[in-house]
């Protein structure tokens, strides 16, 4: 466990990609398969199912530290991370035995879940007594399940590839989908000979680079080399048909079962050995795509009722084919894959399985005009795909581009602030913005991103010096700072005081040139909603 904690701290204390990869490769080099499997599992961002309620951890920690619970909470606000607060507040312990990572998980942590509260407490306190702050921090990260150490799955993949000699694309593929962190899993992960067999296993998704909205797409080259498609605003998914079974994966590698029965039954008409990439969209039978807000009514539901099925039918808009006749076709050029896709879907001809339309034969200027219609189409903009491009793993520059429509923008007044977490802990970085309604400021959006570090510090100082009132962690401040917010869309909402909810709100820039009274009015926001509807 000490080696794993050291790895964690090595990763945490550098921003250099190569140093991180080297640290992981070094760890894998001398880790047992059982440890390496768990390390891979955690580094990829997976967590253990809840072991102990965090509420109890907080209570026990306060008791062990001899402090009242309000002081624990105060400490937590200053630190911004529960595992770290637990590791700092409880006096440090001494290491007894250095057990392996796998032993810790299998023998010390997992069994806690089934114990009664008193036994849990006893074991957790024992862990605290046997761990100094650094080691305890990592153990608590495993328990509280927020294990983020600044490595992406891609970096872990590269480290494993580097260490094992298996190519990164193969490792990446093997790490997709559901796998159990067992020694045999890790052994097959790094085995150069083993064949991939799991029927459910998805391919890594190809991701697009953004095109700068101000500059336009001219810089990416001749329009003749590209195909354009609508960039639909739905749920990215991979539909797999293998061995008579259907699997639908989200981009977050979640297996979505029973959520999209229309698509599942449509996929039955696909031949075995087919994998499609596309977008799940709410759509009318005539093909009109419904706004994301409609699709949202079906998101998060584990099962879907009849009423919702008729009100919000979904279709799968396929835009790529990754496996055809049980063959991996990702290395073929886009144009060829597209040909296969069109043929396959016209053969199976199912209303819930569509090929997304290509927008061909236009100049950049003409495409720019088409793109202006995105909102009417309930799309986010256009996708531009290089005709010769293979289907890449991850975000590779130059093959897929997303050319989004300009966001909505509005000038709003900062009225509430709250401290951030992690790197932003103890700084006021989470803001609530308001618009004028008569002489009242009505809150309508929260935005956490868009300012640089220097601006964040300035706002932080402003908040500290201009606080009117404190509601728990939230400060209300003098309405003075005006910022221009950007957002992707609007929908009516009963839960919001303003009556509307914004999609992806973020700060575009700080309007030093504007006074609070120059900020926009709520009515102006509602007009945008009208335009959109």
């Amino acid at each position: 466990m000490i080696r794993f904690a050291d790895l964690y701290h090595a990763l945490d204390s550098t921003t250099k990609t190569n140093v991180k990869i080297a640290a992981m490769a070094k760890y894998f080099e001398s880790a047992s398969s059982s440890d390496a499997a768990w390390a891979t599992y955690f580094l990829c961002g997976n967590k253990l199912r809840r072991i102990v309620p965090t509420k109890l951890l907080r209570i026990w920690a306060a008791e062990e530290a001899g402090i009242p619970s309000w002081l624990f909470d105060e400490s937590y606000h200053a630190v911004g991370d529960l595992a770290e607060t637990l590791s700092l507040v409880v006096p440090p312990g001494d290491i007894k035995d250095d057990d392996s990572l796998a032993f810790w998980v299998n023998e010390r942590l997992e069994p806690l879940r089934k114990m009664d509260e008193e036994a849990q407490r006893q074991h957790v306190v024992e862990i605290w007594n046997q761990t100094p702050a650094q080691l305890r921090f990592v153990v608590m990260k495993l328990i509280t399940g927020a294990f983020r150490v600044g490595v992406s799955k891609r970096l872990v993949t590269r480290a494993i590839a580097q260490q094992s000699g298996v190519s990164a694309d193969v490792v990446s593929h093997r790490l997709m989908g559901n796998w159990k962190p067992t020694p045999s899993f890790f052994e097959s992960l790094v085995d150069p000979n083993v064949q991939d067999t799991l029927a459910s296993q998805p391919y890594p998704f190809c991701l697009a680079h953004p095109i700068n909205v101000e500059d336009g797409p001219q810089a990416i080259g001749d329009v003749c080399n590209y195909e354009a498609e609508w960039k639909w605003d739905g749920i990215r998914g991979q539909v797999i048909r293998r061995s008579g079974q259907t699997f639908i994966w989200s981009r977050g590698e979640e297996l979505m079962e029973n959520r999209w029965p229309e698509i599942e039954s449509a996929a039955e008409s696909l031949p075995d050995g087919t994998v499609l990439d596309g977008e799940i969209l709410a759509s009318q039978s005539d093909g009109t795509v419904l706004p994301f807000a409609q699709l949202q009514r079906r998101i998060g539901r584990k099962t879907v009722g009849k009423k919702l099925l008729t009100e919000v039918p979904v279709v799968f808009h396929a835009f790529d084919i990754l496996e055809c006749a049980a063959e991996d076709v990702r290395e073929e050029p886009f144009a060829e894959r597209r040909g296969r896709l069109e043929k396959l879907l016209s053969d199976c001809d199912h209303p819930h399985l569509r090929v997304t339309e290509l927008i061909s034969g236009m100049s950049w200027d003409e495409l720019a005009k088409v793109r202006e219609k995105s909102r009417e189409m309930n799309a986010e903009g256009l996708m531009l795909k290089h005709k010769d491009a293979t289907y890449d793993v991850g975000r590779v520059r130059g093959t897929w581009w997303k050319w989004k429509v300009k966001p909505f923008t509005i000038d709003a007044v900062l009225i509430y602030a709250q401290k951030g977490h992690g790197r932003r802990a103890s700084l006021f970085t989470d803001y609530t913005f308001a618009l004028w309604d008569g002489d009242q400021l009505v809150p309508f959006a929260k935005a956490y991103s868009g300012l640089d570090d220097q601006e964040i510090r300035k706002v932080d100082r402003f908040v500290r010096q201009n606080t009117h009132d404190t509601f728990g962690p939230v400060r209300s401040v003098t309405p003075k700072l005006v910022m221009e917010l950007a957002f992707e869309g609007l929908q009516r909402s009963k839960r919001h005081k303003s009556g509307v909810a914004t999609r992806f709100p973020r700060i575009l820039r700080w309007r030093h040139d504007k006074q609070p009274e120059d900020a926009n009015r709520l009515s102006e926001l509602l007009e945008m909603l009208g335009d959109q509807e």
Binding site: E74, V79, L88, Q465
Partner: protein, 349 residues
């Protein structure tokens, strides 16, 4: 009855003696706990401080002021109030100010720490009726390791970096922190270099008789000097500036109490964070209150509300007096005084 000490907008005021302790603005008569500029305010007419802080105060305050210095433990009467200075362990010349008038004793800690520090005299508990304590790190998450542990960590980092062909750059505040760091360095590892502001502080320390390892001022060296394997002690504001280029490949580190928290460490954008503070941590703050055993505690500078409430709940009369009253106000201080986590301009050179 007029109380011996009052908390005012301009700072702690003693109406009987008509003087301020660590005033926030320039006043006529200032009694000063130590030479950091958020305690010793520039522009006062008259300064009274502990003798070992003489060189530092004269270096940093206005020339036209009158200075008076008292050895630790000796008292002087100001307007009928007995004033004496007692070691606070924060930095060279740092003192707790003890006031006594008609049997009532008030102690103002200024900034202080309980652990050992080779560059200054150690803190001593003084029994009193009213204790005014700082609370910069007044939360249970702050708990310091002994000095030799952190010095050991820093020297180990130096050794490893040297063996990897790097030059170390260690950031600490120009006066106080830097000299304490210097005193903990092992000169057998390599050459120790200093930033101008640090070297200026060193001079005052050496003139006061504090032993520091030999240092080389970077400004005295040829542009092409090879710094590989060396240790440069610099002010935090030098981080990320072109000044660093001349050192070649570097490993950077910040030494500060705030480094105890990962978020603050990451914000700093340095390779390493060493937890070195010249303030009381949570356990020693409580220990200090216990051993001085005052009837009343005034809590200032830092997590005032939390510390005051905790003391109250444990049966001691306590109030948060900081008029800024935000527990994070210390973070906003941009001067050299100590380890503010979110500032950049901490250079006083």
């Amino acid at each position: 009855m007029v109380s011996l000490l009052q908390s005012t907008q301009r700072g702690l005021y003693c109406p009987v003696g008509d003087f301020y302790v660590d005033p926030r603005v320039a006043v006529n008569r200032a009694v000063v706990t130590h030479a950091h500029t958020d305690h010793a305010r520039w522009g006062c007419r008259h300064y009274l401080a502990a003798s070992p802080s003489e060189h530092l105060l004269r270096m940093r305050m206005n020339d036209d002021a009158e200075f008076e210095f008292m050895p630790y433990g000796e008292s002087v009467t100001v307007g009928g109030v007995d004033v004496s200075f007692h070691p606070a362990g924060h930095m060279l010349g740092s003192a707790q100010v003890r006031l006594e008038y008609r049997g009532e004793v008030v102690v103002v800690t200024g900034d202080y720490k309980l652990g050992a520090d080779p560059t200054c005299e150690s803190w001593q508990p003084i029994p009193c009726h009213l204790l005014v304590t700082e609370s910069t790190f007044g939360l249970p998450v702050y708990r310091w390791e002994p000095d030799e542990v952190t010095s050991g960590q820093i020297n180990q980092w130096w050794r490893e970096s040297r063996d990897a062909g790097l030059c170390c750059v260690l950031y600490g505040y120009a006066v106080g922190k830097s000299q304490r760091l210097l005193a903990g360095l092992d000169p057998s590892i390599g050459t120790i270099y200093t930033h101008g502001a640090v070297e200026k502080g060193n001079e005052a320390y050496r003139r006061t008789g504090v032993k520091l390892p030999e240092t080389v001022f970077v400004g005295d060296l040829d542009r092409k000097h090879n710094f590989t394997g060396g240790m440069v002690v610099a002010v935090p504001s030098a981080n990320g500036t072109p000044w660093l280029r001349r050192f070649g490949k570097v490993s950077t580190a910040m030494a500060s109490g705030w480094m105890a928290v990962r978020g603050a460490r990451r914000r700093r954008a340095v390779d390493r964070g060493f937890i070195v503070s010249d303030h009381v941590d949570w356990p020693s703050l409580l220990e200090a209150v216990r051993s001085c055993d005052p009837d009343t505690v005034w809590v200032t500078h830092g997590y005032t509300a939390a510390v005051a409430r905790y003391l109250q709940e444990n049966g001691r009369d306590a109030v948060a007096i900081d008029s800024r009253s935000r527990s994070e106000s210390d973070e906003d201080r941009s001067q050299d005084s100590d380890d503010a986590p979110s500032e950049d301009g901490a250079d006083d050179s």
